[in-house]
Every structure is written in C-alpha cells, then in structure tokens.
C-alpha cells in the first residue's frame, strides 16, 4: 500500500463534507460555488485514480463551465431557496434510504476495489492497450486512441448531443431576439 491512499481518504472526507454542506445551505451562491469545489475535488480524485484525461476534463468542464452556467442561472433567477418542508424531507430521506439499501445489498457482487482480475479489468477495455500499441505507433495515450478511433462514432454522437443542447438553449432563451418583439 502506498502513501497516496491517505490523500484519497482526505479527498473522500472533503467530498462528503462538501456534499452535506450543499444540502444544508440555503444561499444559492454558496451552493453553486461549493458545487464547483465538489467537481474540483472529484477531479483531484480522478487524477489519483490514474484517470488523467477524466481529471482535467472534469476540472475544465465540470468545475469551470458548469459553475459558470449555474452562476448565470442563479443571477437570472434567485439568490435564496426556501426552507425544505418536513414532508419533503422525510419523503426524500425514505427514497435515499431505500435506494442506498438496494445498492448496499448489491455491494458484495462488485469485484474488490483495485483488483486486476475483476471482470471489468479483464474484458475488452484492457485489450485496447495492446491493440493501440500494434495499430498506432504515434499515439501513446490509449484513451485518446479509443476516444478518437475505436469508439469514434460514440464521440460523434456526443457532438450531436452538444449541438442539440446548444440549439435548444438558444431557442429557449430566445437569443434571436424575435420573442422580445412578440411580447411587446
């Protein structure tokens, strides 16, 4: 066991603390900024879990763009949120306990953490390591090779989703300016 696992424990503790703080706070500005902190902490954990590409994407997109979007939405809507009513609190707690219990019940079926011989780590994922080394002599980063080549259609679909979302946001917010004229 190496010393980095203690960093992991510290990150887990911070993630839990930030998550609970987000639930309890009612000032939306604080909630939005803590969401950015949550994303950045998870980006640090991704890096520690050997997922470097995911780490910097989460830091740029999750902690950067998401926070900007949430801040903009908060400024256009409201700064405070109402108190959680008792009935909602207990209903949400019941759903979370039930879903959490179901997940805990399924936990023994998961392979132990970090095992090299787990089903997930012996399947086609690891095959990409050798295939990339044979197919592409110029791409050392296997994640890039899989993303751009072996699963290229997936990435193209992602571009379509982002385009559709962009068009949707533009139409909803009336960025063409036509809706303003109709309102008057």
């Amino acid at each position: 066991m190496d010393v980095t696992q203690y960093f992991d424990y510290a990150l887990m503790a911070m993630l839990l603390a930030v998550g609970v703080a987000i639930i309890r706070l009612r000032n939306l500005f604080a909630v939005v900024m803590l969401t950015g902190v949550y994303s950045l902490l998870s980006a640090a954990w991704f890096t520690s879990l050997d997922a470097l590409d995911v780490g910097f994407t989460e830091a740029a997109v999750g902690a950067g763009i998401s926070t900007v979007l949430l801040l903009a939405a908060m400024l256009l809507t409201s700064r405070e949120c109402d108190k959680v009513t008792a009935s909602r609190h207990w209903a949400a707690l019941a759903v979370c306990v039930a879903a959490g219990a179901a997940l805990f019940y399924a936990l023994p079926d998961m392979a132990p953490y970090g095992a090299a011989d787990s089903p997930a780590n012996t399947g086609p994922g690891m095959e990409y390591m050798t295939r990339t080394a044979e197919d592409m002599k110029n791409i050392p980063n296997v994640v890039t090779a899989v993303l751009g080549s072996y699963r290229g259609f997936d990435t193209m679909g992602e571009v379509f989703v982002v385009f559709a979302a962009g068009v949707g946001v533009a139409l909803l917010l009336g960025l063409s300016g036509r809706r303003r004229e109709e309102d008057q």
Binding site: D50, L69, R88, A92, L93, D154, V162, A165
Partner: protein, 134 residues
Amino acid sequence: MIEMLSERFVYVVIIILMMTGLYALIATGNLVKRMVGLTIFQTSVFLLYITVGKVFGGVPPILNYDDLKAGTLDPNQLYSNPLPHVLILTAIVVGVATLAMGLALVVRIREAYGTIEDDAISEADYSLELEKGV
C-alpha cells in the same frame, strides 16, 4: 462482512455521495438547487466508473512514447483500465449539455412565473385553472 466492506470501502463512500445528490434532488423545491443535486449525483456516478477501472500497482493508460516507437514495451507493465475513462469523458460533456438545457428551462420558468420554487409554481398553475373554471 468486515473484510467484504474493507475491500469495497470506496464504493461505500461513493454510494453515500450518490445518495447525498439524490437527497438534494428530491428534498428541495428550488429548481437551481435541484440541478445542483443532479450534478452531484452525476459526478458520483463518474467516480464509481473510474474506481471500477482502477488497478492497484497500475499506471495511467499512457504508453511510454520511446518504447512504443522502438517496439520495446514491457508486456508485464500493469495499466489502469482505459475504457471507463473514455466512457466518462463522453458522459462529462453530455452532462454539461443537459445541465445547460435544464438551466435554460429554469430561466424560462422564472420569466413566466416569477419564481423557481416548485410549490409556488404549482400553486400559480392551480389558481390559473380556478380562474378559467376548468
């Protein structure tokens, strides 16, 4: 039982993080905070995928460039699984797209109703229907 839990300790933490997001999603009536809950839930699911792909003693799935050129890669070198990383890279970007869409809807709701608390929104809908006599 204790051994089972200690081998899967990170999964336990991630399940708790997921439930934190789910609670924030259901309990609050504020639509912006609800999108925040959705983001937390989503990030926790990303963490679950990446922890599944972690291999102890492995290095990030990046080959040594010089060895790759020369064809002298060490066949016994352990790497973490690259496939979950690829899936989650796609999911992060799609997650931001859905977040932008949801927040645009929230801004429109605020323009139409003057509030983003869902109790007040359903009350406004209800009184509108009473006026119409539906």
